[in-house]
Subunit: 139 residues, 2 copies
């Protein structure tokens, strides 16, 4: 029981986080998930965190990292089931999860991933504005 | 983190077991799952046990109980992802999980549940032969 199972559902991968994440488990999940995306050619990753009642900066960064890795492997990430308290904590921690889409529950998350597949252009994350760079005339 | 999340996927419920089950957790899962079946009218329950590396008679009975409860609530149960060692242990423990269908992975399990929905007659579990009762002429 020292691995988080990754379930393949059609063209998507589903991960349910229900145990306390420690460093080793998080690293293994990142390894397993990136391998599975590469092996299966999955176009989307759905991470359900409805069992998480609290979150810290470690888990927040892990989710952001997974989304970043999935993106460079051409897969979208949707986080579902976030509890209100978790949303509050994430924002208070300054983790707004850039590039991660969210949905209220797994069904809506799957629908979101499917809509990304149908309209690949809309699936691309918004371009990151690099503050301070290219400020233009003021320089 | 003291509850196993139950994910609704269309007309089915998905449960991923990835932590050691103790009595209280198992009872809560039974409660939660039967409530969710009643609330949502789900026609199938998929239990993924790919994270279980070993199983004891407690977990075996819990799975059989859940399947029995789901059946009387008019929902089919499919267990997926059973590791070979777990299958060996279950049979050695004398737990053949009557009435529980199995599938190799979640995708096949979902396909099985969908096929039950399409052909409701085939979905019914085989009638249980009560050994010793109704033996007929010998009595």
């Amino acid at each position: 029981m020292d691995r988080i199972p990754i379930l393949k559902m059609g063209p998507f991968l589903l991960v349910t986080i229900q145990v306390d994440m420690h460093d080793r488990l998080a690293l293994m999940l990142q390894d397993d998930l990136t391998s599975r995306i590469a092996d299966t050619g999955a176009k989307g990753v759905l991470i359900d965190i409805s069992a998480l009642e609290m979150v810290d900066s470690f888990i927040g960064r892990m989710i952001a990292n997974i989304a970043g890795m999935a993106r460079v492997l051409d897969a979208q990430t949707v986080v579902t089931g976030m509890q209100p308290a978790v949303a509050i904590t994430l924002v208070e921690l300054g983790l707004s999860l850039p590039g991660v889409r969210t949905a209220l529950d797994v069904e809506r998350g799957m629908a979101l991933l499917r809509s990304f597949q149908d309209q690949p252009d809309e699936a691309a994350p918004p371009p990151r504005v690099d503050e301070g760079a290219g400020a233009g005339p003021d320089e």
